[in-house]
Amino acid sequence: MMNKRTPIQSVVLYTLVIALVIFCVFPFLQILSTSLKHPIDWGNPSLWPRVLHLEAYKELLGLMPTKEVEIPETIQRLLNNPALSEEKKQALLAKFSSGGEVFSFGRYMLNTFTISFVTGVFSTLLASLAAYAIARLRFPAQSLMANGVLFVYMVGGVLLMVPLYQMSVTVGLASSASGTILSLFLIYLIQTLPVAMYMLGNYFRTIPFSLEEAAMMDGCSRVEAFWRIIMPLSKPMLFTVFIYCFVIAWNEYLFASVFLKQYQDFHTLPLALQTLFTSKNAIWDRIMAASMLTLLPVIICFMLANRHLSGGLTDGGVKG
């Protein structure tokens, strides 16, 4: 395999690599580009904006007073007509400043961050206890639980949405905002717990047992050995698992749409973006800017966790 490549082989190799990378990255560039383009520039196939247009970001981040002007339906249809020249579109748009109802992006971001963070913390904590027990201790029904966890993880949310919704209605949680949020938190917990247990279980097994043994000989109890030896040693993996759970909750749409529909103040980002997208047309710049801002924390998270993540993902049959 290591023999020298001919120039032709090199060209083919680099061409293929570049093609693959472009295929993967292009939609992101498209999003970034459109978020920075002025509406008149949308039809321009080049990714490079003719004028840098930051209004969408300013508006989403609350840096600009929003003007409450609606573009009538008929004008909207005209604007969407491909036969119309760009100059005419520009003239039309000038009459109606791009406004619309206030989209409280900051609030949705805070909602999403809060529920994702809480989910991540609880899931990692509960999973580390359970994973340690399954990986290290002998107790009845141990292997049943080990296999059951994965089994459970593969049961997709779609199959559980009706019974979970009916359960929360029966218990009375669905009738109040706080109850709804509690239901949603519990649901995110079960969506993340199994994979967190699986990843941590695999990790704990790689820690030599002699470390705990030594601690216990020094007079630590089993529980103390776990807290003082295993947990500190596992910090990087615990962080990775936390990020993974955080991102699952950050991305979740299905249950958020089922439970939070009537509580608009508590919408999470996926739900809010979908509502924004379906409510109006010709708001590509705002939609794309909102997409970029939703994407950013996830990219940062994964850059932080990437080193362990690739390994952790391939070790388990992780969701994908």
Binding site: M1, L13, L16, V17, L20, V21, C24, P27, F28, I31, T34, W42, N80, L126, L129, A133, R138, F139, P140, Q142, A146, G148, L150, F151, V152, M154, V155, G156, G157, V158, L159, L160, M161, V162, P163, Y165, Q166, L189, I190, Y198, R222, V247, N251, Y253, L254, L269, P270, F277, W284, I287, M288, S291, T294, L295, V298, I299, L313, T314, G317, G320
Partner: protein, 288 residues
């Protein structure tokens, strides 16, 4: 070890797993059983239930929309499973070569997998937008393959292919990661031996790479089927008019004429298929 120690260890073990197992039991195992129960009732959103026996099932089996969505799901599964596996394998072989900026390339091709669905679907919407999208620009104005700009996502038939392409783009990285990990552990001397036997690159792929990867490829295929059978968000957010089984279930349960009992019945049938697949996975693939 003395029996006291064994007992203590068992007690501690049960204590530690109790919270996690309790929550899973209450919110996964119980709902699965409750779902079976609900499938025999006419269920309203406010919780009222009227027993209807097997009516939900017989209605479902007589509903052409159900068979239609099974058909769409089958096409979706065939397209996405084949696509992600083939592209994942190609990417793994490519990224296993040595070239400049390899680490950068390896990082970049993971981006689609990590990105939230919600933040990339609109980018894809824009690419296929009939007015502004690059797809129509290339097809109509550059290549002249078509005279009219087409609304690829607006039409359910073509939208199915956009959704499949999107899924391949989004999920081939996980197939790639699994395959690359295995590829890196294939002993070099196997390739050298094959080269000495006079095998060219294609022959080495066919006689060394594929047999070595056989097991991982099977794993990837099985996992893709399991995950994509229930895939909801990627399809619904990009093209809600592509009615795969999960989308059909969602519409039954929460929109138009709400039929939660019917949705429960679909879920029960789908769960049976899924259980079969997971059983296969745990039995054949997994050693935890």
């Amino acid at each position: 070890m003395s029996s006291v120690l064994i007992k203590n260890e068992a007690r501690l073990g049960l204590k530690l797993v109790a919270p996690a197992v309790g929550i899973i039991g209450l919110l996964v195992i119980y709902p699965i059983l409750f779902n079976v129960y609900l499938s025999f009732f006419d269920v309203q959103l406010n919780g009222t239930k009227i027993f209807v026996g097997f009516d939900n099932y017989s209605e479902l089996l007589g509903n052409p929309r159900y068979y239609n969505s099974i058909g769409i799901s089958v096409v979706y599964l065939l397209g996405t499973v084949t696509g992600t596996t083939v592209l994942g394998l190609a990417a793994a072989i490519l990224m296993n070569q040595e070239f400049h900026f390899r680490n950068l390339a390896r990082g970049l091709i993971l981006l689609p997998y990590f990105a939230p669905v919600i933040s990339v679907v609109f980018g894809w919407q824009f690419i296929f937008d009939p007015v502004n999208g690059i797809y129509n620009h290339v097809m109509v104005d550059v290549l002249h393959l078509s005279d009219t700009r087409e609304n690829m996502i607006g039409d359910p038939d073509s939208a199915l292919f956009v959704v499949i392409l999107f899924d391949i783009w989004k999920h081939f990285p996980i197939a790639y990661l699994l395959l690359l990990a295995k590829l890196q552990s294939v002993p070099k001397d196997l390739y050298e031996a094959a080269a000495i036997d006079g095998q060219n690159a294609w022959g080495r792929f066919w006689h060394v790479t594929l047999p070595e990867l056989k097991f991982v490829i099977a794993t990837v295929v099985l996992l893709r089927i399991i995950w994509n059978l229930n895939r909801f968000e990627d399809v619904f957010l990009l093209a809600p008019n592509v009615e795969t089984l999960p989308i059909f279930t969602y519409y039954q349960a929460f929109s138009g004429v709400v039929d939660q009992g019917g949705a429960a019945a679909i879920s029960v049938i789908q769960l049976l298929v899924l259980v079969g697949l997971i059983w296969l996975y745990v039995r054949k693939v997994l050693k935890w």
